[in-house]
Every structure is written in structure tokens, then in C-alpha cells.
């Protein structure tokens, strides 16, 4: 599984595609938790939209395998508009 629910964090691991959107949405609806992206290698736009909608924060460690600009866009409590410099 690319999405793992743990008591105090939701962990996204590896290549997270659009097919994971349903599961992520359900987990965030059940209980808002920080997201651990330290081992996430790819994050589909559909998942980014859900994260914005949930207002979930990123767990410590950030998202080292995602592009910097995407990390900056993600690490904010509200949804877009968002902008970033490279």
C-alpha cells in the first residue's frame, strides 16, 4: 500500500497515484492527521488537491523526494492561490 494510516500520522510512500485519492480522502475525513511525505516519491495532483482541502500539515522531515517548489506549495494551511519561486 502506498498510503498507510497510523494513529497519529498518515504516511504516503513511493509512487502515489490518482487511484489512491479515494483512500486518502476517507482517512482525512475520519480524522485529520499530519501527513508524512518523507518517503513519497511522487504525489499526483489529485492528492495535492485533497491535501489542500484538508488543511493537513506536513510531518517533520518534509518531502525530500518531491520537487522543492511542490513542497513549498504543499506546506501551507489553506488551499490555493499559491505561488513559489524556484
Amino acid at each position: 500500500m502506498t498510503i498507510r494510516a497510523e494513529p497519529d500520522v498518515i504516511r504516503l510512500v513511493g509512487q502515489c497515484g490518482a487511484e489512491d485519492a479515494e483512500a486518502l480522502l476517507q482517512l482525512l475525513l475520519q480524522q485529520a492527521r499530519p501527513l508524512d511525505l518523507t518517503r513519497c516519491e511522487h504525489l499526483h495532483t489529485a492528492l495535492v488537491q485533497i491535501i489542500w482541502g484538508s488543511g493537513a500539515s506536513l510531518a517533520p522531515g518534509g518531502a525530500p523526494m518531491l520537487p522543492d517548489w511542490l513542497c513549498q506549495l504543499l506546506d501551507r494551511s489553506e488551499g490555493p492561490p499559491a505561488r513559489t519561486a524556484i
Binding site: 490518482a18 495532483t45 488537491q49 482541502g53
Partner: protein, 646 residues
Amino acid sequence: MDELLEQFLIEGRDLVAQAGDDCAALVRNGSTGPVIDSAFRAVHTLKGSAAIVGLRPMEAMLHAAEDLLGTARSAGAAVDPERARALVACIDQCDRWMDEVAAAGELPGDAAAVGAEIGARLRGARSDAAKEPAPSPVDSRWATELVEEERAAIATAGAAGRRLTAIRYLPREDCFFAGDDPLALVAAIPQLVAVRVEAREPWPALEQLDPYRCLLSIQALSSAELGDVSPVFRLIPDQVELAAVQPAAASRGQAAPTAVAADPTIRVDAGQVDRLLDLIGELLVARNQFGAVAGASLDGGLDGELRTSGAAMDRVLRNMHRTVMAMRLVPVDRVFRRVARLVRDTASRLGREVELEQQGLDTTVDKAIADALFDPLLHLARNALDHGIEPPETRAAQGKSPRGTIRLSAGSVGSELVVELADDGKGIDPAVMRRLAVQRGLHGAERAAELSDEEAVQLVFAPGFSSAAEVTDLSGRGVGMDAVKAAVERLGGRTVLASRPGEGTTVTIHLPATAALTSVLTITVAGERFAVPVEAVVQTARIPAAAIRPVGTGQAFVLRDTTIPLLALADLLGLQADRCEGDRRVLVVGSPVGLVGLVVDDFSSRSEVILRPMTGLLSSVPLVSGTTLMNDGSVLFILNLSEVIG
């Protein structure tokens, strides 16, 4: 060039001409009915073809034209003049693009933008107001504004004063369903300077969020050239606008690149290329094996990923294989030159006057094939001179020009290389061949009489038949035709001979364009697996036991009005097989005496394998032409069917 692309360029020209005429008629007199029908069909087919060869911007533009014509067609209405002019522009653009594709093999870098503009003209005037009008691509004020607003980011990136490419990307709401991942596309933009993501509507609460509707609008700046950015969006030209922006501050003169025109070729040792090809072959085998293992894995999640990455690997491998194969290509010219020299020498020695015509000298062929072609061509040329072309006085007496002609030509036909050697000599007399067939015990008198002229002439290929001295003298074809045929077969090709008494003989050699990959059919005989080259198999069939009849001491069956002798392959290979009672599985193969059916236990679908020639002790086993490593790692013998039957 890609074979499909070539065909597209031929077919496309006709369609463009047809659509052009029709659209011009629409502009002139606002026709309806048959003209619109005809234009619709031409545009529809052209669009489909553009899609097949992957010319996405052309397809998208033609799609708009097809929609327009389709609407007019079902409404029975005329196309208004403005839209009709857009149609003409669209067809003209297709014509220009086809020129570019013919020259460069692909569409120019601005194709997406140009196509989108024409597409907007085709769509823009459409009556259905439901669609919001596409923003005019000429208006690039947004780009200048974007550069203005992102000045800080540009400075940070050290791109101040440089030419930039501005990207405005409005993903379709349902783009996730098409497999698009907008942010991943943004990540693929080279030399990103800044990214802005905006919501197209107030962001919904999580409970209301449709996770599969894309709500984003994206703008970005890159310091790469527009031509380097546009390929990222080549599949979605309708959702993106690109603009090149030259900041006003840019006063620094761009130094023109001072490229030195260098020879684009390097010399590589042929052995190294062969080694590379071997390695790719190993890789292909490993990949097949990997596929088999992946297929056996029952883990659904893993399986999907494996399949995707396997497909990507396949593409790269095929590309690599094609590229290396292309490296091995040499012009057939170098073989022909050697043959020409020999023809001149031999002609003067024999006192024949011969004109040598050569065609298709720039046809390229795999080096291995070029080298292996020399001997058969030498045989054929020698035969033509020795036994085909008559002495000048004989020719004159028959009303022929005293100078004989030998024509040597090469060309590609589909995926085949065709090499032909033709002479205008005395040809082969079928009557003589029939008589000799009886004398040499090949056929009974009755059967020989039944042979058509064409069949009789083919007897020169029968092993040993043509080596007899009297044949040489009487038939005009001499030594070694069976050797020629065998040599060509070793290359996976076939030899066709046509001859008319008094008019000459033409021998045509058909060869596969590539030699290294062989298509084989895997068969099971007496419980053992073998492979047979697909070229050797005319067809596979299941024959009910009831349809098999005894003929003499053997068996035969009827396939589409032809009686075909049936042999057990196990017997021919000297293997012990159980007699089966039910349906027989039969390979129908060609042989010197016509079609033959070979009974096997089973056959599976074909696969591409690397044929390894036999080495060592095994190389003296004539029934087997080589070995191959199969997907599961086992080694199969590839049967040489003509030896097996002979």
C-alpha cells in the same frame, strides 16, 4: 523513416487534395450536401491517420474541422464563409506540415500553437455558446504581466534579462480521467523559474471535494526556449498556452552560436557494433524472462506496476535495437561493385558483349546480409554470362541486339529487401526440363508432363539436378542454383526464378530487412519442444482424424481443394511418438515438391528470438539451423525444415 509514416505521407496527400477541393467549393458557393459529406470523410480519415502516426497537433486541429463539418452535415446547413475560410487554412496547414514531416520526420516545434490557433478559428465561430471562447493565442499580455509580477523570482534564478518562456496551463476538469497529472507535467518543464497555482473556484470543504475533478489553473516561467518547453505539453495542446517573452531590459546582445560544421559521422569498428547488438539481444531475452516472471506473480498491486515499467522498458529496448540495427546498414553499392567487376572480367574472357545496368545502389542493407549476398550474386552473374547471354552472332541471328544486358537492381519493398539479377539471354526451355526430370528419376513421365512451364523451370533448384553437365548446356542455367537457394534461405529469404525461352531469365531474391531477430513458432513433438522459423510455415491447422485419408503408403488431407501429404514430424526427427487418435495439429510448410503437412503435438503463438548459429560438434547436424534461449531460460533447437523434409 517509419513505414506507417511513409504510407501516411502518400495517403495523406490525396486526402488533403480531396479536402482542399471540397473546402474551396464551400468557400466559393456555400455548398451543402455531397460536398460537405465528401469533405467530412476526407477530414475524418486524415484525422484518424494523423492519430495513427502520432501527429497530435495535426490531429487536434483536424478534430475541430471534423466537428464543424459533422455539425453542418447533420444539420444540412451550409458552412458560413468565415468558418469555410478557416477550413481552407486548416487544410493548407496540413499540406505544409506534411512537407515538414517528409523532410524532418516530425512536426515543427510551433505546431501545437499554430494548430491551436486554427482550431480556435474553426471552433470560435461555432454557434454552441456553451463552451467558453478559447482565449486568443495572439494576446500574450498575460505573459508580460506574469514576468512583471515574478520579477523577484526571475532575479533569484539568475535569469534577469534572459529570454523566458511563459506557460499558462488550464487543465481540463476531467483531465485525471485521461491519465493527466498536471503538476507532474509542470515538474517536467525544463529550467523552471517560477510556478503559480490558483484555484478556479472557491476551494470546497473536504466533504464536498470531488477528488477526481481538477480545480487548478497553473502559470509558470521557464528560462528554456519555447521549443524545449512545448514537447512537455505535446499531448494536451488544447489546454496550454506558451509565449516567448523577451524582457525589455535585455540589452545584452546574444552572441550567435558559432557552431563549426563538423562531420556528423564517426567510425566505429563493425565488431563493436556487433557486440552491442549481442548485448541488446541478451537484454531482450532477459526482458522476456522478466515478463514471464512478472506474469507469474500473483500480487495484483505489484503486477500493475511491473506491467507499466515493463512496457516502458520494451519501448526503449525496441528503440535501441532499431538504432543499432541502423548502424549496421551499408549501401548495397559495395556488393554490386564487386559483382560488376566480375561481370566485366568474365564477359571479356568469354567473348560476350554485355551491358551492365545497376539500379538502387543506395539501398541500404544489414552488413551481415551484404556480405552473405556476394556469393549467391556471383553465382547468378556467372550463370547469366556462361549460359544465359548468347554469343553476339547468335543474338544477331535471332534479331536481338548483339550486346546482351544484365540488370542488377535492389530496392526495399515493405519490410523486404529485394535484389534482382535479370538477363536477356536464351532463357530456360521447360520442355528440356521435363525431359531431364524423367531421365534423372525425379518424376514419372506422366507427372512430368503435367508440370506447368513455370513448375518445370523451377526444377533447376532441385538439389543436384542442375549440376549435371548436360543440363548446363541445354538449359542455359548451370551449376549451383540449389546452392544459391540454400544460401538465401540461410539468410531467412527466398529465391524466385522466372524465365522465358528466348527472352531471358530473372532471379529475384527476397530477404527480410533485418537478420538478427527471428520470428519462431514454438512446437512440441514427441513431448519435446522445438522452434521453427515462422517464414517456413505456410499455416497451422487442426485436422480432424476423419479428414485424413491413406494415400499409397502414407497419409494426406485436403486443404482448400489441395491434397497435401501428411508426415509425422516425430518420425522425420527419429523420435518416438505416441500415436494420437483425435484431431491432428499440423504445420503446413513449403517444400521443393509443394506443400507438406507436418503432424506435431502442439504449437503455440509466435515469438521473436535471437538465433544463435550452431557451434562445435552440433554445427554438423543439418536438421538444426541454430539454437535460441527462450523466455523461461530453456534452450530450443531451431529446426531447419527444408532439411528435415528433404
